[in-house]
């Protein structure tokens, strides 16, 4: 018996959040005695990249190399993962919570008759009832969820476990996926993706700007800070509503929910809807000229000052120190 992990890739590169899911599954297998961890990766991915999934804790990688699977066609990926699950006789599937992962997991819950828990924040309790802790109310609370089915699917939130990359290379096996036309009933006609940048939902550091920056022309210093720190850029809802920044950078209740190690908020007052998107961050820094900005109550560190004065100086300080 093994635990199966669904690996996501973008342009042939395995996502870091998927490696976290492998580490999570590895720790879970150690706890439940479910044997080793098998990863299933779909589409065109290089042999080295596949073997390196082993470093996060997978013993074996099943590679469904069909290039039709390069794009994340939801139904096709769900069918392929279900085949892998049945082939290895798994009882548990672990995956990273993401745009594609969520969509695939939901269909698999029905295909595999598996109790599904999303936004999982730590390893489940498995002695006796199977109890999974998940984040609810957009990070404002947690729920303990009791899974009653034999098969289980856990969609793991970023930072639910520390990624360990101390394992050996995995054994890579070819995996023949039987797909039919129905799996490809929908077509992805084009993809627009910010290239070369750190992707926001996966970033360890996020630098975020709000209306206090006065206009899109002032984002240079935000981008500079992100570059120095290897961070992703983000923004508040008013900023994306005004069209200053693209929607996929909007962090908050109705936007992207992030869980970075460090979140730096510049010129954002900290409305409760924005905090809902960032409250899983490990450390929050707020820079705002208004000492009464509500964001300071949710922050670990703060600077009361004008962003146009503070940020350039802070960028110099980061450069000097890093």
């Amino acid at each position: 018996m093994s635990i199966l992990v669904y690996i996501e890739q973008a342009e042939g590169k395995v996502k870091k959040t998927s490696l976290e899911a492998v580490s999570f599954a590895n720790a879970l297998a150690g706890q439940t005695g479910e044997g080793d961890v098998v990863a299933v990766a779909l589409g065109t991915i290089g042999a080295e990249e596949l073997a390196a999934i082993g470093k996060a804790g997978a013993a074996k990688v099943l590679h469904g190399a069909d290039s039709k699977l390069d794009a994340g066609v939801i139904q096709a990926h769900a069918s392929a993962v279900a085949q892998a699950f049945n082939q290895i006789g798994a009882k548990t599937l672990v995956l990273a919570k993401s745009s594609l992962g969520d969509a695939v997991a939901a269909r698999l819950a029905i295909k595999l008759n598996a109790g599904l828990v999303s936004n999982v924040v730590e390893l489940p309790k498995t002695d006796g009832a199977y109890i999974v802790k998940r984040s609810i109310y957009t990070g404002k609370a947690f729920a303990e969820t009791t899974v009653t089915t034999e098969n289980k699917i856990l969609a793991v939130k970023k930072n639910a476990i520390d990624l360990k990359l101390d394992g050996a290379d995995a054994q890579v096996e070819n995996f023949d996926v039987a797909l039919d036309d129905a799996d490809f009933a929908s077509k992805i006609t084009s993809t627009e993706r910010a290239t070369g940048d750190v992707l926001l939902p996966e970033a360890d550091i996020v630098v975020s700007g709000g209306r206090g920056l006065k206009g899109p022309e002032n984002w240079g210093m935000v981008e500079e800070m992100a570059k120095i720190l290897g961070a992703a850029t983000a923004c508040s809802k008013p900023v994306s509503d005004l069209g200053w920044r693209p929607h996929h950078e909007h962090v908050g209740q109705t936007g992207v929910k992030v869980a970075p190690t460090l979140y730096i908020a510049i010129g954002i007052s900290g409305a409760i809807q924005h905090l809902a998107g960032v409250n899983s961050s490990k450390c929050i820094v707020v820079i705002n000229k208004d000492p009464d900005a509500p964001f300071f109550k949710a922050a670990d560190y703060g600077i009361v000052g004008d962003a146009f004065e503070v940020v350039p100086k802070l960028n110099e300080a980061f450069k000097a120190e890093l």
Binding site: S99, R107, I110, V117, S118, A143, I188, L200, L262, D306
Partner: protein, 245 residues
């Protein structure tokens, strides 16, 4: 075109989240309930599509009688009729089964809902319903146009979006900017009183992953302020104290 929009009845986004009964129940004292914000986007787009295609728009909620005002609001926004499946929404699987049953019965061409509820944030019901009905499911969808039976969509992915083509019937979990939220006008509010709201019973009681106990995150310590003329101190704190650089 027959459109079904599934809505959740959830605490307003500014609600203080608290629990009672030894942390086993949500404390709804003083809490204002709303149509889930993502569901509100789905409903707004559905009203536009219904008007374009002169179709029929049904809203559905799995909930107890306290959901009725929320369903009436959806009727005021523009839905033609409402169905309430009379049960607390126990888990995603439970809700998906009810929706799949009534969606099949109503033979809808298009099923829309929010990408996720803002209470449990699972974002799983649309995919489960899609699989139960054997139709394609998409989420999070930020643009959706229908031309005859062909559908063009944009789905948000990490750091961007992908453009999709599919055919009806299908199901989509929606988010902004698919449409602008609609505020009910007086005519809508008046007509909502007489539009049909049918209460039906759940078709199955099966659950797979029910929440049993809740907790709040530990309280945050006070913010440590750094002088704006000494920003290097912040860098040192992040590096040596918080150890996040």
């Amino acid at each position: 075109m027959k459109i079904l929009v599934c809505i959740t009845h959830v605490p307003d986004t500014t609600s203080k989240i608290q629990f009672t009964a030894d942390n086993t129940k949500f404390d709804s004292t003083g809490v204002q309930y709303i149509i889930g914000p993502y569901d509100d986007y789905a409903l707004a787009r559905a009203v536009e599509l219904r008007d374009q295609a002169s179709g029929k728009l049904t809203v559905l909620n799995v909930g107890e009688a306290d959901s009725d005002p929320t369903l009436r609001k959806a009727l005021a926004i523009g839905a033609d009729e409402a169905i309430r499946v009379n049960s607390a929404p126990k888990d995603s699987y439970f809700v998906a089964q009810q929706i799949a049953h009534y969606a099949k019965e109503g033979a809808y061409d298009l099923i829309l809902m929010g990408r996720e509820s803002i209470d449990f944030n699972g974002g799983m019901v649309h995919g489960m319903v899609g699989e139960l009905l054997g139709i394609p499911s998409f989420s999070p969808v930020m643009k959706l146009d229908v031309d005859g039976s062909s559908v063009k969509m944009a789905r948000e992915i990490e750091g961007g979006k992908e453009m999709l083509e599919a055919s009806l019937p299908l199901i989509a979990g929606c988010q902004e900017p698919i449409a602008e939220w609609k505020i009910p006008n007086m005519r809508g509010i008046m007509s909502a009183r007489t539009k049909p709201l049918t209460v039906v019973e759940p078709v199955s009681q099966d659950t797979q992953a029910e929440a049993s106990k809740y907790e709040l995150p530990p309280a945050k310590g006070a913010v440590k302020l750094v002088d704006k003329d000494n920003v290097a101190e912040l860098v040192r704190l992040l590096k040596n104290e918080a150890k996040v650089l």
